[in-house]
């Protein structure tokens, strides 16, 4: 009378089946979520060995010749040693893995001592049972799975079934990883081809462009020499030739300006986009009434070389003006992946569809031949250097939109003043976001901040003048401060300082012409 026995054995069996089902689920999840084989394969051998309590498991993948199965993951020290040795077995060769991959069938040895094709591995001396399962995706063998036990007859029918299921999942995952790799390679190749094509096109365009600029110069010079040698020079022709020379030179200088531009700041820094938009609008000559700026809530700072980013925005604004836009709308908003989105939309003439991809190439322009066609390529170069992206959409007759994404910046710096120093600062700026940021931050650390151009009573210790002032031209402001005898306490701050302007301010006698601070640390550094 033992109807209830053998309960412990049944219980063990149920527990084992449960573990196997759980392992199968886990394998299913892992293969769906991990595309990196360097991560997936070791994980698989660990799951298998832990679930089945096997001595060893390993995954072989066929190499590119498809003649060898190369070990890519192996359990424990034996696995590490084998991989370090570059362990591989010939497909169709004298081993269980060789047989399984050659025949596309599982090979099971319940006693390896009696197995004809068993490969005696010196790193795995205790193997008594071994199973080799081919990994087949579609009709292609991609590799094989080996599992080994120190027990003879270690594999039950259920074990074989569940392991085969895991192997099938793994084969699909491996195939997917290969497909992704092939796609990435094809993409890279396409990119290289397109880049080469673009460079060739750009070089051809450059040669074409330079040739068209130098010919008028050389022929004009010849004519001028001839005229000078003549008794009766054609003065009207001389004047025209000089105009041709001047125009060619102007265009060559424009190329240099766009290709090199101002020397880059040392390193990108957190910056207030709205402020850069205003600075760019001022530089490009966009009337205030023409610009509409919308800033979404929680728009973070961007990480940028501010002088270069102002150049980019300036180029986009100039494009809009040249396209006869009557309105430019700029929208700033947070974007996924810790980025900031900038949309610059104009209602100008638009860009023909066939030109939309080409305008990013140097020397390609939709405007007249005296334009260098370098504004947008320069913008693309700068945005790429800032690890951002830019693209455009356009509807001829309706307008053009530029869409930029730039990395967000998070200011973790602190505003620390020297002990006992909390200067009185006069801020000469429009009532904008930056002025509010600076006033608040400086006030918190004990500085007295006043805004405006006039000061009553105590002379401020420092006067900060925003170069991109809308309410009054900066030259008038500086003249006023000079008359008040405080120019030597004045610092002109700019998002995009320019050599000629900085030199002029310094020559006038300002204390400093500095980069506009957008972080607490930079505010503190400016105070000194």
């Amino acid at each position: 009378m033992s109807q209830l026995s053998p309960l412990p054995e049944n219980l063990q069996k149920v527990e084992r089946q449960t573990r196997q089902l759980q392992a199968a689920n886990l394998v299913g999840r892992e293969v769906a979520s991990i595309l990196d084989l360097n991560e997936l394969l070791p994980r698989m051998v660990d799951i298998i060995c832990e679930t089945y309590d096997f001595y060893y498991a390993g995954v072989f993948l066929l190499d590119e010749t498809r003649q060898w199965a190369v070990l890519r993951a192996g359990r424990g020290q034996a696995g590490k040693a084998l991989i370090a040795e570059g362990h591989k077995l010939e497909v169709g060769g004298h081993s269980m893995i060789g047989w399984a991959t050659g025949h596309r069938q599982a090979r099971i040895a319940l006693d390896v001592g009696e197995e004809a094709v068993h490969f005696r591995n010196p790193h795995l001396p205790h193997t008594r049972s071994e199973m080799a399962l081919p990994l087949v995706a579609g009709n292609k063998v991609v590799g094989a799975l080996t599992v080994q036990s120190t027990q003879e007859r270690a594999f039950s029918e259920e074990d074989i079934l569940t392991l085969q299921t895991m192997a099938d999942h793994l084969a699909v995952a491996i195939n997917n990883a290969y497909l992704v790799r092939d796609l990435e390679r094809a993409n890279a190749e396409l990119l290289r081809a397109k880049t080469y094509e673009a460079l060739t096109a750009a070089t051809t365009q450059a040669i074409h462009w330079i040739g068209n600029r130098t010919l008028p110069m050389t022929t004009a010079i010849q004519r001028l020499k001839s005229d000078l040698a003549s008794d009766r020079p054609d003065l009207a022709s001389c004047q025209e030739d000089l105009d041709l020379l001047a125009d060619s030179v102007r265009q060559i200088v424009e190329v240099k300006e766009n290709l090199l531009g101002p020397v880059r700041e040392q390193r990108p820094r957190p910056a207030m986009l709205a402020d850069l938009v205003q600075a760019a609008a001022l530089q490009a000559g966009v009337p205030a009434a023409m610009l509409r700026l919308e800033i979404a809530a929680n728009t973070p700072l961007v990480l940028a070389d501010t002088a270069q980013l102002v150049r980019v925005l300036c180029n986009l604004f100039r494009n809009a003006l040249e396209a006869r836009a009557s309105q430019i709308a700029v929208a700033l908003a947070p974007a996924p992946n810790d980025e900031v989105a900038i949309h610059v939309n104009d209602n100008g003439e638009g860009i023909p569809a066939e030109m939309c991809d080409k305008v990013w190439a140097a020397f390609v322009t939709t405007k007249s031949a005296d334009h260098s066609g370098l504004g947008l390529p320069a913008a693309l170069l700068v945005v790429n250097q800032l690890h951002g992206s830019i693209r455009l959409t356009s509807h001829p007759g309706k307008g053009t939109s530029f869409h930029l994404l730039l990395p967000a910046a998070h200011d973790s710096s602190k505003l620390a003043l020297k002990p006992g120093s909390a200067p009185h600062i006069l801020l000469v700026d429009d009532d904008d976001a930056w002025a509010r940021f600076a006033s608040l931050a400086l006030g918190v650390v004990g500085c007295t901040v006043m805004q405006g151009l006039e000061f009553q009573g105590t002379t401020p210790d420092q006067i900060w003048v925003d170069e991109a002032l809308e309410v009054q031209p900066i030259q008038e402001v500086l003249a006023h401060l000079k008359a008040a005898g405080v120019l030597d306490r004045t610092i002109v701050i700019s998002a995009a300082p320019q050599v000629e302007r900085v030199t002029r301010y310094l020559q006038m006698g300002v204390r400093e012409a500095a980069l506009k601070p957008y972080s607490l640390g930079e505010l503190g550094a400016l105070i000194g």
């Binding site: 020397v263 300082p497 900085v502």
Partner: protein
């Protein structure tokens, strides 16, 4: 009286072109192609120069082409003749270099290719009727 200007620039065409422009404007102009030669010419000049135009990127005092060699010459000129107007004329559009130049005593900083205002600056520094 004719104002005398020294141009130190290692690019012969740049030096010659600026010389032509300044001579037409009525100045007496000498050129030198490096810091070493420029300093030698500056030291012995009689009468002394009234203004110096300096390139930045040129051979230094050891004859090695160096990006900021002109600053070394600026320092020597400023030490020898404090207050003598010196204008830097550089190809590089670099705000930091402009700041450095002013801080080291230069009167101005011009970017080559945008030097159209240079003559006006010189006229403002060396005032008077167009010298003969």
């Amino acid at each position: 009286m004719t104002y005398r200007i020294l141009i130190v620039d290692d690019e012969p065409m740049v030096a010659r072109s600026m010389q032509k422009t300044l001579v037409r404007a009525g100045y007496a102009v000498q050129t030198a192609p490096s810091c070493g030669t420029g300093w030698a010419v500056f030291e012995v000049a009689k009468p002394a120069f009234d203004l110096v135009l300096l390139d930045l990127n040129m051979p230094d005092f050891e004859g090695t082409a160096t990006p900021d060699a002109g600053f070394s010459l600026l320092d020597k000129v400023a030490a020898a003749r404090p207050g003598l107007p010196v204008i830097i004329l550089s190809a590089y559009d670099d705000v930091n270099k402009a700041r450095q130049a002013i801080a080291r005593g230069a009167r101005g900083f011009c970017v080559k290719g945008r030097e159209q205002s240079l003559l006006d600056q010189i006229h403002a520094i060396l005032p008077g009727e167009a010298p003969q």
